[in-house]
């Protein structure tokens, strides 16, 4: 029984190290647009920036704090980035509509409102920075 628990833990640790916080592209089965009504309810306006990052947080989420600090820091130095922190508990309809299951969940939106991708769990700082730089760096933007 202890061996089973240890094996499960090893698998979970491996999962947490590789998948947690990793960006998942919006292609595939997931719709790559988010209903306008949901965005409006959350106060998200993708047209205002090259890249809009929407973070879902709760009061019982430890890593949300570090992710928030990181994004606020990036926002201060990258004018093309907009950041919206959403309290998941007060927007449960949106949480269900967007199938947010964990916190922090981050949605990455292009200027045209389409979904670039999402991630669940705290993203690694350098990956987050690279992603933001890749999508806010170009002067002309590319999202339309």
């Amino acid at each position: 029984m202890l061996a089973v628990a240890l094996a499960v833990t090893v698998a979970a640790v491996r999962w947490a190290r590789t998948r947690n916080g990793a960006l998942r592209g919006a292609d595939g089965e997931e719709a790559d647009t988010i209903p306008t009504a949901v965005l409006e309810e959350l106060g998200v306006r993708p047209a205002d920036a090259e890249l809009t990052v929407v973070q879902f947080s709760t009061a019982f989420c430890g890593p949300c704090r570090a992710t928030r600090a990181r994004l606020q820091q990036l926002q201060a130095t990258r004018p093309g980035l907009a950041y919206v922190d959403v309290d998941a508990e007060s927007h449960l309809d949106a949480v269900r509509a967007l199938d947010v299951r964990r916190t922090p969940t981050l949605l990455y939106l292009r200027r045209d409102g389409s979904l670039l991708g999402r991630s669940s769990g705290a993203p690694r700082a350098e990956e987050l920075t690279a992603l933001v730089d890749a999508h806010t760096g170009a002067r002309d933007g590319w999202g339309g």
């Binding site: 202890l2 989420c61 704090r65 449960l92 916190t103």
Partner: protein, 145 residues
């Protein structure tokens, strides 16, 4: 939801507590020790219900471990690890009841889940109990503030 200013704790405290919890639950699982699981449940209850400053492992950390570790590098709000204590309490109560009331398989499975969560937290800092919060919350109807 707590509206008072968030109480901040040393992030190393919950990691230490998770490590101690892992050892306790591993021994409990090896020995099918229902009373040991019950003792761990009492530890979870103290931290989860009364606050982490009353949690036995947190007291141990503050008095014996922290003074030897050097200055605090990072603090975090108390709410997430405290919520996780309540999730741990739930699993260890079921585990202890299973062992002590003649359902050893139930006892072992519930204790095993608690051990996996504690070990994962100790090794990576990943808080499984905290992750469950939104999953459970979104199943319930919206609460009007």
């Amino acid at each position: 939801m707590p509206s008072a200013p968030a109480r901040l704790i040393d992030t190393r405290g919950p990691r230490f507590a998770a490590a101690v919890t892992s050892v306790v639950l591993a021994v409990a699982l090896l020995t099918a020790g229902g009373w040991l699981v019950a003792a761990q449940a009492a530890v979870f209850a103290a931290g989860g219900l009364a606050g982490l400053r009353y949690a036995p492992y947190a007291v141990l950390f503050r008095t014996l471990v922290a003074p030897r570790l050097g200055p605090v590098r990072d603090r975090e709000p108390e709410a997430p690890p405290r919520f996780a204590q309540l999730v741990g309490l739930l699993f260890t109560v079921v585990g202890a009841a299973g062992y002590l009331l003649g359902a050893p398989l139930l006892g072992a499975v519930a204790t095993g889940f608690a051990l996996v969560a504690a070990l994962l937290n100790a090794v990576t800092g990943f808080c499984l109990g905290c992750e469950l919060y939104l999953t459970v919350r979104r199943l319930m109807p919206a609460r009007t503030a």
